[in-house]
Amino acid sequence: GGQDGGGGDSGGPQKIKVGAIPIVDVAPLHLGLDQGIFEKHGIDMEIQNTTGGAQAVPSVVSGEFDFAFGNITSIIVGRSNDLPLTIVANGVTSTGEQGADFGGVVVPEGSDISDAKGLEDKTIAVNNLENIGDTTVRNSIRKAGGDSDTVEFVELPFPEMPAALERGDVDAAWVVEPFLTASLNNGATEVASNFVDADPNLSVAYYFTTEQIVNQDPELVDNFTAAVNESLTYAEENPDEVRRILGEYTEMDSATIEKIRLPRWPTDGYKKPAQSIADLMMHDGVIEKQPDMDKLFQ
C-alpha cells in the first residue's frame, strides 16, 4: 500500500471528493470510510450525495469530483461520446441467483404475467430509458423466447413504481432495492431477474474517474482502487455491517433494512460482463459504436 499517497511530500492524507448516490449499492464506500480503510490508504474522502450517473459524469468531467459511482450504461454512453471516462474499481454486482437478485421485474398482484415472455406487448416502467433497465429487460424477454420489440417502456422514478404498479398504470416494473422488497410486500410477483439473465456476474455500476486524473496522479488512483477493493471485500464479508451502515446514510427503516436483498461486491471478474452490456446496447441502438473496452478500464 502506498502509505504516503499522492501528496507524499505534504505529509497528510490526500483530500478527495467522491460522488455517490445514497442507495444500497454504495454501502462499501460508506463502510470503508467508517472503518478507516480509506484513511489507511492515505485518502481523506468526502462522499457527496448525487442523484445518479447522469449527474455524476459531468461532475467528474469538470473535476468537481475526483471519483464517482455510476452505472455502466452511463459510463459506456459517455465513453462512446468521447468523454475520457475510466473505470477504476467494481461498484456493485448481481447476486447471480434467479429470483434472488437485488433488482428484478415485478408484476402486480393478480397479474396474469408469470414469466419474462409474458411481458410481450406490455408496458414496463424503468427508471431511465435507453439505460441498463430497458436493455437488460429486453434481453430477458428475448432469452425467454419473446419478442422484445413489442414492449413499451415508460420512464418512472423507482420510488413511484410500487404505486404505479398497484394502480395499474404499468403492467410491470423493473425495480431495485429497497423498492423490490416494498413491491413484494405489497403482493407483487417477481417474474424476471434481468441482471442475472444478462450475465450472472453482471456488474451494474462502477467507480470511475477521468483519464486526466489517471495520467496526472496514478498513485492516487491506485490508492483509491486499493481502498475500494478492500472496502468491497469487507462489505461482502460483513453483511451485518452493511445493514448497520445502511441505517446511517439512508433513511430506510430498520424493518426494510432487515429484509432487503444485498448485492455482491466482488473485486475481480467485473470487466467481461461490461462487454455484455455494451453488446446489448449496440443491439438496441443505444450507442452507435462499440466503446474501446481497453481504454474504459484502467
Binding site: S74, N81, A125, L129, V154, P157, A163, D169
Partner: protein, 253 residues
C-alpha cells in the same frame, strides 16, 4: 428597424458565444455553428411531428386550463378578503412545492396519463396568473366600483365589464409569465413517465451526453418561447388597446 430590434442583440450574443466556445473548447459548450447544424438534423420533420407537436399541444392545453383556473380563482380571492385569508396559506404552501416533488403526488391521484402532464403544467404556471389576477382585482378603481353599484350593474356584466377588464393589464402580465413557465413545466412534466415529447428528448440528450443535440433542444425551446410571445404580444395589443391608448393619449403621442 423592427428587424434590427429583434436581431441585433441576439446576433451580438451569438457572436460572443461563438468566440467563447472556440476559445474555451469546453466539451459542454459547442459552437453555435455546430448547434445550428445539429438543429436541422435533429429536429427534422419526424421528430417535429412525433415529439414536438404533442408537447406543444399539451403546453397549450395546460396553459389554457391554468388561465381559466387562475383567473377564476383569482377573481374570487381578489374580491373577498375573507376567502383570501382562508386559502392563502394553503395556496402558498402548494406554491412552494417544487414540481418534481409534486409530480408523484399528482400521479397518485390521477395516474400516469396526459392528465397528469397537464396538471403538472397547470401546477406551475397558474401562480403568476393567480397572483396577478388577485392584485388586479383588488386594485379596481373604487370610483368605477361605485359607478357600477349605482347603476345596478351586477352579475356577469359586472364581472366582464368591470372586474376582468380593469384587472386585464395585470392579468396579461401574469399570463405572459405563465406562458414561459408553462414551457418550462412542459419539459419537467416529460421527465416523468414519458417516452416521447420535446422535453423528454432534451433530457434524454442530456443524459446520454449528446451535448450539441441537447443545446439544439434548448434552442428550440427558446424559439418556441419567442414565437409564443410574439403571438401573445399580438393578442395583448388587441386586448389592452384601451390601456395603451390611455397611456399614449396622456403622453400626447
Amino acid at each position: 428597424m423592427r428587424a434590427l430590434h429583434i436581431l441585433l442583440l441576439p446576433a451580438v450574443l451569438i457572436g460572443a458565444w461563438w468566440v467563447a466556445s472556440l476559445v474555451s473548447g469546453v466539451y459542454y459548450l459547442p459552437t453555435p455553428g455546430e448547434i445550428a447544424a445539429t438543429f436541422v438534423e435533429v429536429w427534422g420533420t419526424e421528430r417535429l411531428l412525433e415529439d414536438v407537436l404533442p408537447s406543444v399541444g399539451r403546453l397549450f392545453g395546460g396553459f389554457a386550463l391554468a388561465v381559466v383556473l387562475g383567473v377564476g380563482l383569482g377573481v374570487v380571492l381578489g374580491l373577498s378578503a375573507r376567502i383570501r385569508a382562508l386559502l392563502e396559506p394553503v395556496l402558498e404552501f402548494f406554491r412552494a412545492i417544487p414540481p418534481p416533488v409534486l409530480v408523484p403526488l399528482l400521479m397518485l391521484f390521477v395516474g400516469v396519463s396526459t392528465t397528469m402532464k397537464l396538471l403538472v403544467i397547470v401546477s406551475g404556471c397558474i401562480w403568476p396568473i393567480l397572483l396577478n389576477t388577485i392584485e388586479g382585482v383588488r386594485a379596481v378603481d373604487p370610483v368605477l366600483v361605485d359607478t357600477c353599484r349605482c347603476y345596478g350593474i351586477r352579475g356577469r356584466r359586472w364581472l366582464t365589464t368591470l372586474v376582468l377588464r380593469s384587472a386585464s393589464p395585470q392579468i396579461m402580465a401574469g399570463m405572459r409569465q405563465g406562458l414561459s413557465i408553462a414551457i418550462i413545466l412542459m419539459v419537467i412534466s416529460e421527465m416523468f413517465a414519458s417516452s416521447s415529447g420535446l422535453g423528454y428528448t432534451i433530457i434524454q440528450f442530456q443524459r446520454t451526453f449528446a451535448i450539441p443535440e441537447m443545446w439544439s433542444g434548448i434552442l428550440l425551446l427558446g424559439l418556441l418561447g419567442f414565437l409564443l410571445s410574439v403571438v401573445f404580444g399580438l393578442v395583448e395589443r388587441k386586448v389592452l388597446s384601451w390601456y395603451n391608448g390611455t397611456r399614449a393619449a396622456a403622453r400626447g403621442e
